[in-house]
């Protein structure tokens, strides 16, 4: 494992493109299936303009997108994300490094007022020239969290055993970033 040199990450300040980026989650549902959802309102910044590079961002919890309005209502209620009291999920990196060809980002993830250190793995690509001008880079990262460590405790026992929603949740970001204007 080597420390990623600042020069390995494009210099400057880069902002996520909301149209071509995604912040999502996946969790086992009904024991056997994988349920996916995403947030539509978020912003991520990669800052490599001074000192160590930093990756940070925030997600509006009430922008959770699922294809059922009743489920949306449940997810933003106090029993889940509690959007009234905790309108944002935030992430701030504490270290960015390379592990082989992987990009590894350590950082503090705050959900529902609880902050935990996580390690996210993925990769960074680019920059490439955009036809309309400027450049773009891509970052894909993934990490696993135990949602109950953040106070997201809701569950329901299944008649045939097991629970409706597993505690382990996979969080993913697929980012297209453009230079800050």
């Amino acid at each position: 494992m080597t420390t990623l040199q600042a020069t390995a990450i494009p210099t400057g300040v880069w902002k996520s493109d909301p149209v071509h980026s995604e912040v999502g989650f996946a969790v086992k549902h009904m024991v056997v299936a994988t349920f996916r959802g995403a947030f539509t309102d978020f912003g991520v910044t990669l800052a490599n303009d001074e000192g160590e590079p930093r990756l940070y961002g925030a997600v509006r919890t009430d922008s959770v997108q699922v294809r059922d309005e009743n489920l949306h209502g449940h997810l933003v209620s106090p029993e889940f994300f509690d959007s009234e009291r905790y309108p944002e999920i935030t992430f701030t990196s504490t270290a960015i490094r390379a592990d082989g060809s992987d990009l590894v980002v350590d950082g503090d993830l705050t959900i529902k007022g609880t902050t935990k250190r996580v390690e996210a793995r993925g990769h960074i690509d680019g920059p490439v020239a955009h036809p309309a001008g400027g450049e773009r880079i891509g970052i894909d990262l993934e990490t696993q969290v135990d949602r109950t460590e953040f106070g997201l405790n809701w569950n329901a026992p299944m008649p045939s055993g097991g629970v409706a929603v597993q505690n382990e949740v996979t969080l993913t970001v697929h980012l297209e970033l453009a230079p800050e204007e």
């Binding site: 009743n70 449940h74 209620s77 106090p78 029993e79 009291r85 809701w154």
Partner: protein
Amino acid sequence: MRVLAISGSLRRDSHNTRLLRVAAGLAPPPAELELFDGLKDVPPYDEDDDGDLAPEGARRLREAIARADAVLIATPEYNSSIPGQLKNALDWASRPFPDSVLRNKPVAVIGASTGMFGAVWAQAEVRKVLGAIGARVVEVELPVAGAEEAFAGNRLADRELHQRLAQILTELVEAVEHRHLVAA
């Protein structure tokens, strides 16, 4: 600050209504408890009857909850669960979902029973229902067991239980104050 107190028992000499009267004397200023007296007038839930012209009993319940900053429910326990009329009232209050009058509203649940468990199962199930509705459930419990012997005048005979009830009211009021802080 208005706290709407709902007793899940309709009986004239209900232990749970008496428990709420004890609670009324413990509410920390500026909170004031208002006892809801219309539970018996809430008709059986029927979606065909719901909407702008919902029955008067259901509208009174919704309006009382909407006016209140918080709700305190005292539930008896029937057959290890929630009394039907209380559950029916919560079903009316839960509509329309998700933006009902209970949405994000701080609610605490207490309970009394003549048995030895103090309606703990009914309290747990009322909390579960409130969570599903989207209320801000204060995670507290007050099992007043042996209700026929549990009161001494306008107090709970058990000093520790009495103090616990006062603490629950404080936590309920704090949940309201926190909500106002977030909104400010």
